[in-house]
Symmetry: C2
Subunit: 278 residues, 2 copies
């Protein structure tokens, strides 16, 4: 495929998208970033073909928003007059209700197309330096069409196949945010809460894979995640309440020396994993 792509924000996700386009497609990539050093680096390593400007936005076939949620909304609001009628604008945010409350409306007002997107891949490091052409290999790409015409959704799907995503899922903003509260936000809260134990600084020599896995994403970008958590407050607080309730059930069984109740609770964990074939 040979399209004109504009990527706004060359952090971990935007940088990785740019590199994936260069590695796996024939598209031309214009990159926009507020940091001139990142733009220079992206150009020098071939992640982008050019530094993007107003002219590139005017000619874009697809525009990927890879900033924080509010910054994505602000960028579209201030550049909407430049975006051409057939351009597909999409985002890569970790939550959708906030984005989808604003961008479909702005798109409709200005005549371009908007469909939300969320590539389900990440790393415990952020920034362009951590970006990787193969970050999305086999990852799921969630599409949140928000009423966008099918041709916009189909184009984003075709690009996802070309960039070697593992598959796509279409859903609503509400279901997306509810699921993400569980699959992604909860593990990040947990990782941070976990490493706050007074035992943590002494773990070396006493730990193995379980410690490594639970603590991995504690290496968090607090600016980004604080915004994502608060934008998804209701779903996240609901999941946290459920989790605290379930931890407390197990704790109470241990506390009371109730081996039978404990086995029943742990067996449920095992059975859920088995049912999922994991």
């Amino acid at each position: 495929m040979n399209k004109k792509i504009v990527i706004v924000g060359l952090g971990l996700i935007g940088g990785s998208l740019a590199k994936a386009f260069q590695k796996y497609s024939e598209c031309q990539i214009a990159g926009i970033d507020r940091d001139p050093d990142v733009l220079k680096a992206a150009l020098a390593c071939g992640a982008i073909d050019k530094i993007g400007g107003d002219a590139d936005i005017r000619e874009a076939d697809v525009l990927y928003l890879c900033l924080y949620p509010q910054a994505d909304i602000d960028f579209v609001a201030s550049h909407a007059h430049l975006i051409p009628p057939d351009c597909v604008v999409t985002d890569t945010c970790g939550i959708k209700s906030e984005i989808c409350a604003h961008l479909p409306r702005i798109a409709q007002e200005h005549g371009f197309l908007f469909a939300g997107g969320h590539p389900m891949a990440g790393k415990e490091k952020s920034g362009f330096a951590a970006s990787d052409a193969d970050l999305f290999l086999d990852a799921s790409y969630i599409l949140v069409p928000c009423g966008a015409p099918q041709r916009a959704v189909d184009l984003l799907k075709a690009i996802a196949v070309e960039l070697r995503f593992g598959g796509t899922v279409e859903t609503t903003p509400e279901k997306h945010d509810r699921m993400i509260a569980f699959t992604s936000q909860l593990p990040h809260v947990l990782a941070c809460a976990y490493v706050m134990s007074p035992c943590c600084p002494e773990h070396n020599g006493f730990s193995a894979g379980s410690y490594r896995d639970v603590s991995r994403v504690a290496n968090i970008n607090e600016q980004l995640w604080a915004e994502l958590f608060i934008d998804n407050r209701e779903a996240l607080v609901g999941e946290l309440d459920t989790l605290i309730t379930n931890i407390t059930k197990i704790k109470n069984a241990v506390s009371k020396n109730d081996a039978e109740a404990l086995r029943i609770l742990l067996r449920r964990g095992r059975q859920i994993k088995e049912m999922l074939g994991e």
Copy 2:
């Protein structure tokens, strides 16, 4: 090294120890297991040199206990009269206070040596079929000498080096159990509590590495872990209380839309990981 080794219990840990001895040492391995099919399989694949009996125990240089905690204690109690004076008996249990309350005393009464041990490696599968000669590669081997003479500890360390463990740590039963409550038991409780969310069965397409990492060990052996949790009740309940408190702090900041408090909490997570160089 060329020693006579008896391994009692050829599950994941005992089976992996047997295979590691065969791959990396010149020791002769006699295996004991209540399941004749496991013994046959272990013999057939060369994990053990022979099926162990009383005569092997009478000649053992080192005896590894790889059963559940109470079963280890029962085995030693009922076979103590067979264990020769210079034999080093060690276990591989995930908790130490219970084991160390009994086995050093039995050893002293019968004139053999006991030092506790805990190879910090595992898998989300159990049983001989899951055992692997390289399970312990680069893993930490925790030694809990409980007053054993230095020569017993040194022998176990020398074996650990030969079997390609990554390093050894010496500690007390109390510190071992306190650290393990954090590094190993807590992640297992968390994994089970996590997958109990009503969202879990629908995670496919919405999840990536964070889900996989937190949920991995929910595939738990509930018989073994219920015993380990209850044997370490005090330390584990303490860690669970700490964790619930810290999750609740983050939840409250999200609940109240308090982005600044939330960033401060998340930053602590990141700073702890950074301090640890992880």
